[in-house]
């Protein structure tokens, strides 16, 4: 059918719709356009914009065979209380068929405080495992072969220290750094914008990040040195387009910083990875994944003149949207997670964490985690969604939505460029404010009923208080404190002092790469708090300013 003919038929269809609506009004609060046709994507050039899997601009996926080769990595984020307990959970996950580890650290660890610090009181071991020194890291990975497993660590401000500890543990296992596979999140910009576990101001933070890029490109070549994260931006309330726009703007800032530090773009860009949220609106999410790959490919090729294909590929880890889980009727969350999983898979993710049904209430129980992992396995093995590459390509709606999200992302990126880049936009509070406004709108839509959340503002029932929630043993903090004290009594404190003094000198010299100094310090069993304390002394701390 020619476009003219389609236009003609469309007009007839619209007329019939008007008649139908007169008799049966449509539901309220729907997206404006009810139907998509070839006219919506008539300007989309297949070769330039869509193309083939493994081919620029990677809209259809970064690998030529995608899941026909192997499935995405089923990577369950876990970690709580002590290193011993977390180690047990990791080994349970590996036995259950998980193919990668993902470590959650407690808040003191994420902010560079020891468990013995007064500020850590009440927080030790709560949202993740407490790691105070190399001694804890040795226990965390006990009997786990670091030469085989790939490990993702959700650690940002002190990422350099945790990575150094991982390298040191591997060394003790007889595994050299060049064999290590995994990811550190290491994305400080989204901490300022959305997640909140920053330590240092932006400038020294960017230095630490580029130090890691440089060190790993030479010594830990298979390591993903950053996971540029939209996940938390979305959790904080952003829209799908804002999620990828703000994250890619952050990515641009990292690439610029690294180039400014003298690195060649193709030497580090292939190790950059991303982290998306899989939210509730399945088709919009699929479009978001596709759009994000296209935007990043264009950024890397056109703006940064990358030449290696790998430098242009947006590889992504995904987690289902925690903020979309409801405390009401928590078993409904199993269904939400299954749909979010379908979105991530049709979107072509490289790895996936699925949330557990009880996470709006507490940390997940083992049974809940098992259901979440099984959800991925059912989608992989039973649903057929992974059998054909990019199965929604060519859908008028999904292609049009991909274009729309891409266009919105470019608008934001342009605006942020004009402000002087992501660091400046964050310092101005622009990105935070945009996210807050979207979060507020979402909440107001839920409260007005414009947006329905099953079990929350519709289809509510009287419920009993949920049972069998996981509780973190309240004595964890005391136990961990005692462990740190005992470790400190045993270590060579002169060696610690010397290593920390050396680190301080290195911090003061902007041209020095800090990684070797941090690695030397962790090997003396200097604690995370001691190492970050030295850096706090030299770099200072970030202070946030909030505009409601």
């Amino acid at each position: 059918m020619s476009n003219e003919k389609i236009q003609e038929e469309l007009a007839k269809y619209q007329a019939s719709v008007e008649k139908a609506i007169a008799r049966f009004p449509e539901r309220e609060h729907l997206p404006e356009q009810r139907l998509y046709t070839p006219l919506d994507i008539k300007d989309t050039d297949y070769a330039d914009e869509i193309s083939f899997p493994g081919v620029y601009p990677y809209t259809r996926g970064v690998q030529p065979t995608m899941y026909r080769g192997r499935f995405w990595t089923m990577r369950m984020y876990a970690g709580f209380s002590t290193a011993e307990e977390s180690n047990k959970r990791y080994r349970y996950l590996i036995e259950s068929g998980a193919t990668g580890l993902s470590c959650a650290f407690d808040l003191p660890t994420q902010i560079g405080y020891d468990s013995t610090d007064p500020i850590s009181e009440g927080e030790v071991g709560k949202v993740g495992v407490a790691i105070d020194s190399l001694a804890d890291m040795e226990i965390l990975f006990d009997q786990i072969d670091l030469g085989k497993v790939s490990t993702s660590m959700t650690i940002n401000a002190p990422a350099s220290v945790l990575l150094a500890m991982y390298i040191a543990v591997a060394e003790k296992q007889g595994v050299s750094a060049d064999q290590l596979k995994g990811t550190i999140q290491n994305d400080i910009l989204k901490e300022y914008a959305a997640r909140g576990t920053y330590i240092f101001p932006p400038r020294p933070s960017m230095r630490l990040i580029t130090n890691i890029f440089e060190y790993c490109s030479k010594n830990v070549p298979k390591w993903n040195t950053i996971s540029i994260s939209g996940y938390h931006i979305r959790e904080a309330g952003s829209t799908a387009a804002q999620e990828i726009a703000f994250t890619i703007a952050d990515g641009i800032a990292y690439v610029e910083a690294a180039i400014k530090a003298g690195l060649n773009v193709d030497d580090f860009a292939g190790r950059l990875s991303f982290f998306w949220n899989a939210h509730n609106n399945v088709l919009e999410e699929v479009a978001k994944f596709r759009a994000s790959r296209r935007v990043w490919a264009k950024v890397m090729k056109e703006r940064f003149k990358a030449e290696k294909p790998k430098s242009m590929m947006l590889r992504v880890h995904t987690q289902t949207a925690g903020s979309m889980l409801t405390a009401q009727q928590p078993n409904n969350n199993i269904v939400r997670v299954a749909l979010q999983t379908a979105a991530a898979v049709m979107g072509g993710t490289q790895s996936l964490h699925t949330n557990s049904r009880d996470e709006a209430l507490a940390l997940p129980t083992e049974e809940s985690v098992m259901i979440a992992l099984r959800t991925q396995q059912i989608v992989a093995y039973e649903s057929g969604l992974a059998d054909v590459i990019d199965p929604l390509a060519g859908s008028y709606y999904v292609e049009a939505m991909t274009n729309k999200i891409e266009a919105e992302a470019w608008d934001y990126i342009k605006k942020i460029d004009e402000m002087g880049g992501a660091v400046a936009a964050i310092e101005k509070g622009y990105i935070q404010k945009e996210i807050q406004d979207s979060a507020y709108k979402w909440q107001m839509d839920v409260e007005s009923g414009a947006r329905t959340i099953v079990g929350v503002n519709k289809f509510q029932i009287e419920e009993e208080a949920p049972k069998n929630l996981l509780r973190v043993d309240a004595s964890v903090g005391e136990k961990q404190k005692a462990k740190v004290e005992a470790m400190k009594a045993k270590r060579d404190n002169d060696a610690v002092k010397a290593a920390l003094a050396d680190l301080k000198t290195a911090c003061q010299d902007e041209n020095e790469n800090l990684m070797p100094h941090i690695l030397a310090a962790v090997k003396t069993y200097a604690t995370l708090g001691e190492i970050c304390g030295v850096m706090r002394e030299v770099f200072g701390e970030y202070e946030a300013h909030v505009n409601l």
């Binding site: 709560k126 997640r195 909140g196 959790e235 309330g237 507490a362 979060a439 409260e447 409601l548």
Partner: protein, 132 residues
């Protein structure tokens, strides 16, 4: 003219999840309250001090990390006993297991708002219970 109700929205502890705190802060402001938001990572001492300095009628705290059994009662103690602010209404919210709520109320948290609560419930609760 009636004096505006003053609310301190606070994030005790180390967790950075402030979507809820910010949404609630804004909803309270839109409901006509005077709202002061502390920002992240406040110690109980800092929150009590801010409550005193800002002379608030309500302290509303949000925690998602599980540190509430430790931090909420500490703030209540400081506000009530150190500041001597006996009439301040102290409320909390976040990912807080139902089983923890009785102990928090016992400690002086007037109400605990868990996920899925409409912000209008918080507004109504404050209006009904504040002593201003």
């Amino acid at each position: 003219m009636e004096k505006k109700i003053r609310v301190l929205v606070a994030k005790p502890g180390l967790d950075g999840h402030d979507r809820g705190a910010k949404v609630v802060a804004r909803a309270l402001r839109d409901a006509g309250f005077e709202v002061i938001y502390t920002g992240l990572r406040q110690t109980p001492e800092q929150i009590a001090e801010a409550a005193l300095q800002e002379d608030v009628n309500v302290v509303a705290m949000s925690i998602l990390s599980g540190a509430h059994p430790h931090l909420f009662p500490k703030v209540v103690d400081l506000v009530r006993n150190k500041n001597g602010m006996k009439d301040v209404l102290i409320i909390g919210g976040g990912v807080i297991p139902e089983g923890d709520i009785p102990a928090l109320k016992e400690a002086g948290i007037a109400e605990v708002f868990t996920p899925g609560t409409p912000t209008s419930d918080v507004v109504d609760f404050i209006k009904a219970n504040v002593k201003a």
